[in-house]
């Protein structure tokens, strides 16, 4: 197993104790912990260069602008993109909403269809429902196969000219399954549909290069990849960003404002109305620097090893059922499971007594839960700072839960 253990000391929170036990943080799919380098970058920004960006002729404003635009370049480079096509948003959710409103509101109409999968996060369902309501378009779903991956066998029957947008996640935050990016984007191209990739779980955990995949838009969140809350990114193909309307109006995003009409600033500024999350951009930039220095392939390998180990350990626990691919090459490190008749919240509470943080609930994927026929699952998820002993602690905690629930 790739040993990233020495990095743990970069994350102050990992030395915290919870209920008298060292914290075992297995909830990185919800949000990740932050290394000192990220916190220091933001602190330094506020302590030495804080000012509003652009439009400023004084030194601090110039420094802040340089730091902000420099962060954009870092985040862009991290996904092989051009900074001019990399827009800072509040997060994945905001990015997908911007795409839905900015591209869909003026273009979709009655009879059009938006294709998603049943494994999507609410962030990739609800915006399309809203746009469907406004335009009369319809939302259609791809379901899953037995190994919890998208059932691409269904594609042939569902793909036709009515499909205008295909939007899906690169990695499920529930099953951990990788999305069939190439298959779905090819299918979309066959009917000239737009391809939107919810990369909230993909970009933090695997190398992603926008030149290697054929998607129109890509969305991800800083807080899920060591960066601060309050910021994320939307990347788009230049022609898509050009034709897309901004969904927020205000300062910085305009070229000329007259009383009754305005013209927009060039991309990416067109999509960044108002004072942007400046310190957050600086922190986001520091986060991708940190990830880059380790190497995303190293991180992906580490997580694959850890996931393999976890799947093995979990398979030894009686009555435990994993909702996700068994094959670690088809998946990332978000592992959802059910244990006998113990409700996920009870599992989370019991584990928390031993300092182990897992998530319990519908994971913002209620249609998937309904499809799987479960009210909730428990989910352990891994990142670069996790170590095999933490998987052991999880397994022990689950055995203890069995005991407490009288399952010996």
């Amino acid at each position: 197993m790739t040993d990233l253990r020495s990095l743990r000391s970069d994350f102050p929170i990992l030395s915290r104790s919870i209920n008298g036990h060292p914290l075992v943080y297995l909830d990185s799919a919800a949000t990740t912990q932050k290394p000192v380098a990220v916190l220091d970058a933001m602190e330094a920004y506020y302590r030495t260069s804080n000012a509003n960006v652009h439009r400023g002729a004084h030194t601090l404003a110039a420094e802040a602008t340089e730091l902000y635009e420099g962060a954009r370049s870092k985040v862009a480079r991290f996904i092989g993109a051009d900074p001019a096509q990399t827009v800072f948003t509040r997060g994945t959710t905001t990015a997908i909403n911007h795409i839905a409103y900015g591209w869909g509101l003026d273009r979709l109409k009655q009879g059009d269809r938006i294709l998603v999968t049943i494994a999507e996060h609410h962030a990739n369902i609800v915006p399309w429902q809203i746009i469907a309501r406004h335009t009369g378009a319809e939302l259609v779903y791809l379901e899953l196969t037995d190994d919890y991956t998208v059932d691409i066998g269904e594609l042939e029957s569902v793909i036709d000219d009515r499909i205008k947008i295909v939007s899906f996640s690169g990695m499920s935050n529930v099953t951990g399954a990788l999305g069939p990016i190439d298959v779905l984007s090819q299918a979309a191209r066959s009917v000239d549909a737009l391809v939107v990739l919810d990369a909230a779980q993909l970009v933090p955990h695997q190398p992603v290069d926008v030149n290697q995949i054929d998607v129109d838009f890509l969305a991800f969140s800083s807080h899920k990849m060591l960066g601060p809350t309050g910021i994320g990114a939307m990347w788009g193909k230049p022609e898509r960003l050009e034709e897309m309307e901004p969904t927020e109006g205000g300062g910085e995003m305009i070229n000329i404002v007259e009383r009754h009409t305005s013209t927009w600033a060039p991309v990416p500024h067109k999509f960044e109305a108002g004072t942007p999350p400046i310190a957050e951009a600086v922190g986001f930039g520091a986060a991708v620097d940190y990830l880059d220095a380790i190497g995303m392939d190293v991180i992906a390998a580490h997580e694959r090893d850890l996931t393999t180990y976890a799947l093995e350990k979990l398979s030894e626990i009686p009555d435990l059922r994993v909702y996700g691919p068994k094959d670690a090459t088809k998946r990332g490190g978000a592992v959802s499971f059910e244990l006998a008749d113990i409700h996920a919240h009870d599992i989370a509470t019991i584990l928390d007594q031993d300092g182990i943080a897992v998530r319990a609930g519908h994971h913002c994927a209620r249609p998937l839960m309904k499809y799987l026929g479960v009210p909730a699952t428990a989910r352990a998820s891994f990142y670069l700072y996790n170590v095999p002993e933490e998987v052991d602690a999880l397994a022990e905690g689950l055995l203890k839960a069995r005991q407490i629930f009288g399952l010996s």
Binding site: H343, D346, T349, Q353, M369, P375, A376, I404, F405, G406
Partner: protein, 152 residues
């Protein structure tokens, strides 16, 4: 007892696994639904009321052991009681759940305890995020009784 053992007392697990009065009612009744969107617990209740008395009730729902056991215990506690008694019970339950640690916790084993099995839910107080699980059934009951009052 460890805090976990206090939370997951046997009587709670028993109610969780063998909920009393699971189902729906036929005939005249009021119906109410509640959920905790933040954790996904769901609860619905049918209550038949005659002459100011709860003559029957039934519950459905899904969720954690605490929310479901709380509902099941509530069934036991309210059926056959007058509305005044149920209101009193609700107050007592809420008081028990909000009492701060050390502040005279109710002794479940004392003679004449009105809350009965429900007192087993005291352990939840040590787990503040779970209190809303225990409350769900009672909040839904209050909704149902308010409806009944409006209808009458």
């Amino acid at each position: 007892m460890s805090q976990l053992d206090e939370l997951y007392r046997e009587v709670i697990l028993d109610h969780y696994r063998n909920p009393r009065k699971r189902g729906t009612l036929n005939g005249a009744h009021v119906h109410a639904e509640g959920n905790n969107p933040s954790c996904g617990d769901e609860f619905s209740i049918d209550v038949a009321i005659e002459d100011g008395k709860i003559t029957d009730a039934a519950m459905q729902g899904q969720g954690c052991s605490i929310s479901q056991a709380s509902g099941s215990m509530m069934m036991d506690a309210i059926i056959g009681k007058s509305l005044a008694e149920v209101s009193d019970l609700t107050t007592k339950f809420k008081t028990m759940m909000t009492i701060e640690e050390g502040e005279n916790p109710v002794d479940p084993d004392r003679p004449g305890s009105v809350l009965g099995d429900l007192e087993a839910l005291q352990g939840v107080r040590k787990f503040p995020v779970r209190i809303k699980c225990a409350d769900l059934a009672w909040a839904t009951l209050s909704d149902a009784l308010e409806q009944a009052e409006k209808a009458s």
